[in-house]
Symmetry: C2
Subunit: 409 residues, 2 copies
């Protein structure tokens, strides 16, 4: 089993306190020994919340819980455990969520519906929630505004590095901060495949506006990335606004005064999404695919994702082979409007294929050099319209087989 840190890892940024957020992590012994596996985050009274969840038709019990709880648009606590996903666990799964939320609500003096729960780990095993709730009182007593790194580490399953990002933005004349943590894609033990992301801001933003910003941002960032095309049953991105910053009132519909906030949020979402891809199972290269000239933006994204999920394209990149023939194949299989004779394929800034054939005498030297790097850029121009999209993936290597092809232990 590969346990080394991903070669594409990035260092954890400095994470200053964020007004209205206190965090902590504890070891509840749910599955792992000798490490933290429960994270609690308490936010100020009045905090608003938004969430985006997996599109998988077989979601985990915590996803069901949060979807229902978020209808109120309010949150006071977040409790996350690693090691057990609480997925496909029937009524016991719901009961575990309810018991966890009730225990946290007592500690935080709030309604259970203001407690968001998330779980990541093995599918199909009953979550031993008594271990989890037993750890909560001491954990609650230890919460601190300086514990961001501990929280980022406590939600890891088989990630090889902790993931966090922070940005500032202005609303009116007031500077606000956005900080998020994420986990995902380091699938060293089989069965674990969940992307979780929790983002906080001290801005005071009504829940509807928060939800609009988050949905739009996730669509252009997390939803444009793929490691292996397999959509987890537990994917969760939450955004909670503590309202501690002193800026002009933001209307429910958000609008123009959130423009800079949206910019900063989208930057942060992309940063976290790419950190997850950088920790993709067995990943040796981060791949960016720019699709232009498609009929529509939606069509461009579909084509980009089909290329990003093609095993033949991904193994070629692992082999440092600028195999444009496989990219042509993948564009063609996407089922979107495409025409062999207007299609162009480039790698690292060099166009290799155009007008239905190879570009005569193109210089292979910079292409070969580019393919040896850690960050690969692929350009695909469909030549039919103005639709464009950018998606990201990683290569497909022996590491992926090692990580996912060994028997569950």
């Amino acid at each position: 089993m590969a346990t080394a840190v991903s070669p594409l890892a990035v260092a954890l940024p400095a994470l200053p306190p964020l007004a209205g957020v206190r965090l902590g992590a504890a070891a509840a012994g749910i599955r792992y020994q000798g490490r933290t596996d429960v994270v609690m985050i308490e936010v100020a009274p009045g905090s608003t919340a938004a969430g985006v969840f997996t599109s998988n038709k077989c979601p985990g019990a915590p996803v069901d819980w949060c979807r229902a709880a978020l209808k109120g648009g309010k949150a006071r606590m977040v409790v996350v455990n690693a090691g057990n996903a609480n997925v496909f666990t029937g009524k016991a799964g719901h009961d575990a969520c309810a018991a966890t939320a009730a225990a946290a609500a007592r500690l935080g003096d709030c309604s259970a519906k203001q407690v968001m729960v998330a779980s990541t780990g093995v599918i199909g095993e009953i979550l031993p929630h008594e271990k989890l709730t037993a750890a909560l009182p001491a954990l609650h007593a230890s919460l601190s505004e300086d514990n961001w790194e501990a929280a980022a580490r406590g939600i890891m399953t088989t990630d090889t590095f902790p993931k966090a990002s922070t940005r500032t933005a202005t609303i009116g004349d007031t500077e606000v901060r956005i900080t998020g943590i994420a986990k995902g894609s380091g699938m060293i033990a089989p069965d674990m495949a969940t992307m979780l992301c929790f983002i906080f801001t001290d801005a005071k933003i009504p829940a509807p506006a928060l939800q609009t910003l988050l949905s739009k941002g996730v669509n252009a960032t997390f939803n444009c990335t793929t490691v292996d095309s397999d959509t987890s049953t537990s994917d969760t991105v939450m955004l909670i606004a503590t309202g501690q910053a002193r800026h002009k009132r933001v209307p429910a519909e958000g609008g123009a005064m959130l423009k800079d906030f949206a910019r900063a949020l989208n930057e942060l979402l992309l940063d976290l999404a790419l950190q997850v891809i950088r920790d993709g199972e067995g990943a040796q290269k981060l791949v960016r695919i720019d699709v232009t000239g498609a009929k529509t933006a939606k069509s461009a994204k579909k084509i980009g994702m089909v290329v990003a999920n093609s095993p033949l394209v991904k193994t070629a990149i692992a082999g440092e082979d600028a195999n444009w023939g496989r990219i042509v194949m993948a564009v063609g299989k996407a089922g979107e409007p495409a025409d062999r004779d207007t299609l162009s394929i480039g790698v690292g800034g060099t166009w290799m294929a155009k007008d239905g054939g190879v570009v005569p005498g193109y210089d292979e030297t910079p292409v070969v050099a580019h393919m040896k790097g850690q960050e690969i850029d692929i350009a695909i121009d469909i030549g039919l319209g103005r639709g464009k999209a950018t998606v990201w993936t990683c290569d497909l290597t022996h590491g992926y087989i090692d990580i996912n092809g060994s028997y569950r232990s």
Copy 2:
């Protein structure tokens, strides 16, 4: 590079002569040295023909050629080369097809539009058709009704075993024969990914009826199989009827008198399709997935193919892990109607998950034994309707990465 024969290989069956078909293979040196790489098949005057081709939007020049040529419903010659796919080669690609067809037409004393051409191998390189046409006169002089094995071997690229199948059927009181050869999926050298299949019968069947039978048969066989989800630019299945058998006249619309013929054809198509999967890149296990209880048959097939293409499911099978949690995930990501709480998953005849949770106390012993075998059966019951489908795939192993992740040589 793995060059050993697939552990899932089957022996070539005895292939008796088929009235109205003469075959041969020659070495034209297009890419490979020391082996045959051009196959010619001549069929009797009056032979009818049908074809099914790749759905890829960037098809190879030979696919364009055959689609146009088949409009007449007649064929006299088939010329296939291995080593160069003649894909994404612009006008030169079309010219190569036309020159090859013209040369074969002169030898066979027929119209160029009655010559079907197919190519498999590297994408994006101009086909050196002069080498090909130079080999045709001697090849034509050597044609014989006993050369089925030579033809099956001559169209291989990186297949590890030759693929053929033969069946008999009755039309009225007359016995007819159907024999087909195929190649595909042994992608040891990158860039080569094509499934070609040529089927012949001595029955006398009008082209429209032939096309209906073939389209229906391919949809239930080849189109229900996947190695890696990547649809080639050159996939071709052709069915040619030489009309040498003496049976009652078959009407243009086919109909009831072709029932037994359709049965035999479908058996043969499935046999060849599974031979291709058995030679899938790096395959160690042949996987059958039966989906029942879906809303519709189309929905069942979609769910089956999403499970069959899931890297996490395929790597789990490679690891001999009956990981039903990953199957739940794959069912859920298909986007088709599915309900976690009515879903059942079984492996090798043992139901492991039902009613939204693991089956309490199910016997793992037969499941573990089944997963160690070469043929894996997965059952998925959606529990919502009567739609069902069966699809086939292989596992995802280090062999796949070895074969496709090394630099083109």
